[in-house]
């Protein structure tokens, strides 16, 4: 049996997906990227091989994606995460027309047709609307990143943030804490502000359903609900949404390896 690997080395985490010849996910792994990007790629690839009980020699092709894609030493190809997210999203949700990807330092909106990118926009050199913003907010409130989404769902009177700047949000949050605002209302305001900003980004490629939500922030149930409310549309979210770039990369790896030589 041949296998194909996709390794998405993001700014915060490195993800690896291994698929078999039927394009079924056989293994997955996730590690923190840390300071050594090349090592992070190696580590998550090794972890995925181990998780799936797959021998290194069975990997017919590996594709690197994400900011660290050129550091995937064992990669046969490098493809941007934009193209890979579109590919992965279309496998899991074939009716996908718009991919909303919120990662550690990036927010992207990708317009998709038949699994291919038609148009895309990204946030610029600003962490507003990204996972980094949420982790800063969680830290300021002394909470874990994984719990803030759930808590935000309990908001009854969400506060109105005066900024979506990752630097200045800390003082904004502290001001609300000092005023005695409830934590869930502060978190409700944070999620609302980020969702509004992200949807403004998505508008630039067109608000066309179905929407598929990918990237680490898609694990945040509060953000999913807030985005759905503001869009007035359900979002496709899978337990593997976090891995979408790696899934797309693994699919490209399978196509690349299975194309007859010369084509």
């Amino acid at each position: 049996m041949k296998y194909f690997a996709g390794v998405d080395v993001g700014s915060t985490q490195a993800k690896c997906i291994i698929v078999d010849e039927q394009r079924t996910i056989s293994a997955r792994a996730l590690v923190e990227t840390g300071a050594n990007v090349a090592r992070a790629a190696d580590r998550c690839f090794a972890a995925a091989l181990e998780a799936g009980g797959i021998a290194r020699e069975s990997i017919a092709c590996a594709v690197g994606t994400g900011y660290g894609r050129f550091k995937v030493s064992f990669g046969d190809l490098q493809i941007t995460e934009i193209t890979c997210h579109a590919k992965g999203a279309s496998l899991l949700f074939p009716q996908t027309r718009t991919v909303i990807d919120m990662g550690g330092q990036d927010a992207k909106a990708i317009s998709v047709r038949d699994g291919e990118v038609v148009d895309f926009v990204m946030n610029d050199k600003c962490a507003a609307g990204t996972g980094r913003f949420l982790s800063t907010a969680a830290e300021t409130l002394g909470l874990g990143l994984e719990e803030i989404g759930e808590i935000s769902l309990r908001a009854r009177n969400p506060v109105r943030l005066s900024t979506v700047c990752t630097v200045f949000v800390e003082s904004d949050i502290m001001a609300y804490v000092a005023q005695g605002k409830k934590i869930e209302d502060i978190l409700g305001g944070i999620h609302s502000a980020i969702a509004a900003r992200t949807i403004a980004l998505v508008r630039r490629v067109g608000l066309e359903p179905q929407f598929t939500f990918t990237g680490g922030v898609s694990l945040n149930v509060g953000m999913v609900k807030m985005m759905e409310e503001k869009l007035g549309q359900p979002l496709n979210v899978s337990a593997d949404s976090h891995y979408m770039g790696a899934i797309g990369a693994a699919l490209f790896a399978s196509e690349h390896a299975l194309v007859p030589a010369g084509n």
């Binding site: 941007t80 193209t83 291919e116 148009d119 990204m122 610029d124 050199k125």
Partner: protein, 421 residues
């Protein structure tokens, strides 16, 4: 072979001629007696200065040279320390910084101005730039008030032309005061004649990129030709440069040679380049075998490829029209759309790249709308942003991801089109 390895005779000749030009600037700074005039690129009336043997000095060209040589940041920071805002035009800050650093650059010592000729009013920051230089140097600023193109037709009115010509007459008087001699009208006509021939050749060079493969990159190689176009136009050496460049490019067309081994994508590009990272930026396109076949930036100084020529029989009128009508920045945005549409169509390009400049709102305002406009026309359009002078605004990883993703999707479109054909 990478695009960067394409170094033709014209690249060598440019280096030599620009070294001579900068040597003349240094000689002027050291007291050779040749007066220097600072002026701006947009529609630059360099012929008038040449007729008086006044050396043209372009602070924008000096600033970009500093950036290319990775020397701009200390000057920018020095200007910010003086109080210039971080959002201010980085050309201005680099220039002010180098002015107070003794005007010594790796390529020349820049002379003090005898004339500060602000020939463009479309940018209020530029007006202040020359105002500040006037304050620092003690040289009075001479302001040409060039009306924007306001009509739907895209042409200036006769009143506009007369208005500018009257100002040019006053400029002549100022040059006479500076040099102590009267305008030699034959000399002016000769400078204008040389410019006319130069413009004809530059226009022909620009049209050669309609050929597939394009013989040179109309962005990255055009900038090599733009310095002589401004600094040497109206001189015999300037004309020789463009004769050489045209011959070389025509030969490349005949031999079907492009700047890359393969030409896979033909695109049009809008906006100035990120000078501090020019090589890195160029490589981001070269690795996709993408060649710019036209660029709006190369028309900032003049729009020769769409018909403009200086007229030796009407020298002042043609200089006025150059200032008013025949340069990119004095035109309105709809005219810029039209220009890009012509490039896409007549130069056979399939995509538009917009490089937006953070510290230049004048050039960049409206580019979001431009992206929408061309996307609606069905033209794949990518908007990227950094800066033309400040190296801190360039995020290599983000830029690379956007450009790679854009060409990945263009590659896919091409495959689909081939399959359905």
């Amino acid at each position: 072979m990478t695009e960067l390895q394409y170094q033709g005779h014209l690249h060598q000749l440019q280096k030599q001629l620009m070294a001579n030009y900068y040597a003349a600037l240094t000689a002027s700074a050291e007291g050779s007696g040749e007066p220097a005039a600072y002026l701006l690129i947009g529609g630059n009336p360099v012929e008038l200065l040449r007729a008086f043997d006044i050396l043209p000095v372009f602070p924008e060209v000096n600033a970009l040279q500093l950036a290319v040589k990775k020397q701009s940041l200390p000057h920018i920071q020095a200007a910010e320390f003086m109080g210039y805002s971080s959002d201010n035009c980085a050309y201005v800050k680099a220039d002010i910084g180098q002015y107070f650093a003794g005007r010594k650059t790796p390529f020349a010592t820049i002379p003090e101005p005898s004339l500060l000729l602000c020939n463009y009013v479309g940018c209020n920051v530029y007006l202040d730039w020359f105002g500040h230089l006037s304050e620092y140097s003690g040289c009075p600023a001479f302001q040409l008030d060039i009306p924007f193109i306001r009509s739907k037709s895209g042409f200036p009115s006769k009143d506009d032309v007369d208005y500018v010509m009257r100002q040019l007459q006053r400029l002549i008087e100022r040059c006479e005061e500076i040099t102590g001699r009267q305008l030699d009208e034959d000399r002016l006509r000769e400078c204008v004649r040389l410019s006319s021939l130069t413009g004809e050749l530059w226009s022909k060079i620009k049209h050669l990129t309609k050929h597939t493969p394009a013989p040179y990159d109309a962005y990255f190689d055009s900038v090599t030709m733009m310095a002589p176009l401004y600094c040497l136009r109206g001189t015999p050496e300037g004309l020789v440069f463009f004769e050489t460049a045209y011959a070389e490019m025509a030969e490349r067309v005949a031999a079907n040679r492009g700047p890359l081994e393969t030409e896979r994508f033909r695109y049009v590009i809008e906006g100035p380049p990120p000078w501090p990272h020019l090589r890195t930026f160029r490589d981001m396109f070269s690795r996709w075998n993408a060649v710019a076949v036209a660029s709006t930036y190369s028309t900032v100084g003049g729009l020769w490829e769409f018909g403009f020529r200086h007229d030796p029989d009407h020298p002042l009128e043609s200089i006025a029209c150059h200032l008013l009508e025949w340069n990119l920045t004095n035109r309105n945005f709809l005219q810029r759309y039209e220009q890009i549409e012509r490039y896409l169509d007549e130069w056979h390009a399939s995509a538009l790249i917009i490089h937006s400049v953070k510290s230049c709102r004048l050039f960049s305002a409206g580019q979001g709308d431009m992206r929408e406009y061309f996307t609606k026309l069905g033209v794949p359009t990518l908007l990227i942003e950094s800066d033309l002078e400040d190296p801190r605004y360039f995020s290599e990883a983000q830029m690379r991801t956007r450009i790679d993703a854009f060409f990945e999707s263009l590659g896919h479109r091409a495959l689909v089109q081939e399959a359905s054909a």
